[in-house]
Subunit: 336 residues, 2 copies
């Protein structure tokens, strides 16, 4: 550092300010320092900088290992979060923690400045653990009482209302919701399903529509079984809101085998899924696609706001799914 | 640290050995040191340790942003790589770099000890850049001449041979390969397709079988178009090796519309895909599933061997896809 200062004809303090961005330095001075550093092969040392500032500029993305739903979109989410972190001078570490000890280890080593928590449950013991640890964190998702927390989540309530709007405009009044259940193990009380069910029940009742509530496991075989009994379980239903992208191919296949047409006999609107998953079906599903890129970006921004201050983002962000037309929704057949 | 040493009644050096795992410490001593640390709220500081050892214990997973193929399996790969890193005391940073400057930035900051490179092209300019930077790295995939490099890759040659074995045992002798093309942009000359084509041509010729080579874009619409002309393009073909999981639903749908049965009129074997993607189809596809968990684990192990030495892994690892039976392969119809 002394050599750099001598060559650039500035003080050592100025070199430090330039390297660490810790105080404003004029463009001309910065250029001189950087030229000197380059000539001397001096490399900004991320570790040294971290020690000097007591900050590592590393964020951890914490998620339960191998338990994702929404696999199709999670890569977009990871990428968007990593890219946003990078744009702000941070790095994103993947942390597939599956138990409390691993969470404690993460927060106790001093490696990370902050944590992003994915796959949040309605009652999530990790939140209290993070609060106790003093580590800044933000949620992708929400607990039952998230007011005091920083979070970004899909606006399930708005998405359900917009889904019902779409189907009502087509002429439907007997509408079902088929979800994947509230889960078990680490995903017990999985927020998205809990919130979607609540919003569906409220909206349907307020509008005086005929509602059906269905549930099956998240795989094509379960979708097939559901298809075989759906006429008995939901007589008169002409449209289905599907929050279970993995059951869809089996469901559609079984309906076809029974001689039922999608969308003529049953409209299907897939929600919180992706255009890519929707296109895996025949017919291609109309979808309310999950805003995974936006969720990744905003989640990281919320966390960095806590760390760096001065951000002007709301501490609570809800992002709508976007309607992408496919071939699976249409007016109900005349006579229904 | 002095306080910890005093409370545990050991030397400062012993505390240091315990914290840094730099020398063996007896279990009893370790327990005493850890109890003292806990009592004093002393936290192992990852940054301090990194500075002391001139190592950060951070690995970067470098991949072209938003250009993945094999999306369905990439999350398993990420998770397995992150978990393996964690088991060895390392942390995995996601680095969705899309240009050379970002790669140079990664290697010049001193943040990472090593780099894992994904989505490797047959001629990949990033390899030379990494070599010049002096940063240890390992490849997930292979360049055209990978002998001097550390890599783990799918054994495409073995997988193609096993695929042909499976179909020949069922009685097929006129077999096609439908791939997604060799790509463009950052995926130009994409290794998996280049190697699979080469292996297919060699195997089919050696066995004296009738070979068909087909290609279409990686989406259901392209699969649909392929389905409409496949009888003209490949007359007499009774079985198809499919390395294009995203075209599959459209292809199967179009074949059904033409009154062609899978597997009776055409057996389909999906390769380098996943059970999950295979199950999205009707009928569920027989699949040679990509070993993503194994690739993530071995890739990280290769890299850590370079960093820590003493590993006994081969520098070149090839992992086979595994046959998972579905309902899309069967003997050819009598008369073919």
């Amino acid at each position: 550092m002394q050599d750099v200062a001598r060559l650039a004809n500035v003080s050592i303090a100025t070199v430090s300010f330039t390297v660490n961005n810790s105080k404003p330095v004029s463009p001309a001075t910065r250029a001189r320092v950087e030229a000197a550093m380059q000539e001397l092969g001096f490399r900004r040392n991320a570790v040294g900088r971290a020690l000097a500032s007591k900050r590592t500029h590393i964020l951890a993305l914490l998620y339960p290992a191998l338990q994702h739903r929404f696999r199709g979109t999670v890569v977009n989410f990871f990428t968007s979060a990593a890219r946003t972190a990078s744009e702000h001078g941070y790095n994103l570490v993947l942390w597939p923690a599956s138990n409390d000890d691993e969470l404690d280890e993460l927060t106790s080593t001093g490696l990370v400045d902050g944590v992003l928590l994915m796959e949040v449950q309605v009652e999530d013991p990790r939140v209290e653990r993070l609060q106790k640890s003093g580590t800044p964190f933000a949620l992708i998702g929400r607990t039952a009482e998230p007011d005091a927390l920083d979070f970004v989540d899909i606006d399930f309530e708005g998405t359900v209302a917009a889904s019902i709007d779409h189907l009502v405009e087509l002429g439907h009044s007997a509408i079902g919701l088929l979800d994947g259940g509230v889960g078990s193990g680490a995903l017990r009380g999985y927020g998205p399903v809990v919130r979607t069910r609540g919003a569906f029940d409220r909206e349907m009742e307020e509008r005086g529509l005929m509602a059906f509530r269905l549930s099956c496991d998240e795989n094509p075989a379960a979708g097939r079984e559901m298809g075989a009994r759906i006429r008995d379980e939901a007589p008169g239903m002409t449209a289905l809101i599907l929050m279970n992208e993995h059951a869809a191919p089996g469901l559609l296949s079984e309906l076809r085998h029974q001689g039922l047409s999608v969308p003529d006999d049953l409209s299907i609107l897939s929600i919180a899924s992706s255009k890519e998953m929707a296109a895996m079906n025949d017919p291609e599903l109309t979808v309310m696609s999950a805003p995974s890129i936006e969720l990744g970006r905003r989640g990281v921004e919320l966390l960095i706001d806590q760390l760096d201050g001065g951000g002007d983002h709301d501490r609570h962000a809800l992002v709508m799914c976007a309607l992408e037309p496919g071939a699976s929704t249409a007016p109900p057949r005349a006579g229904h």
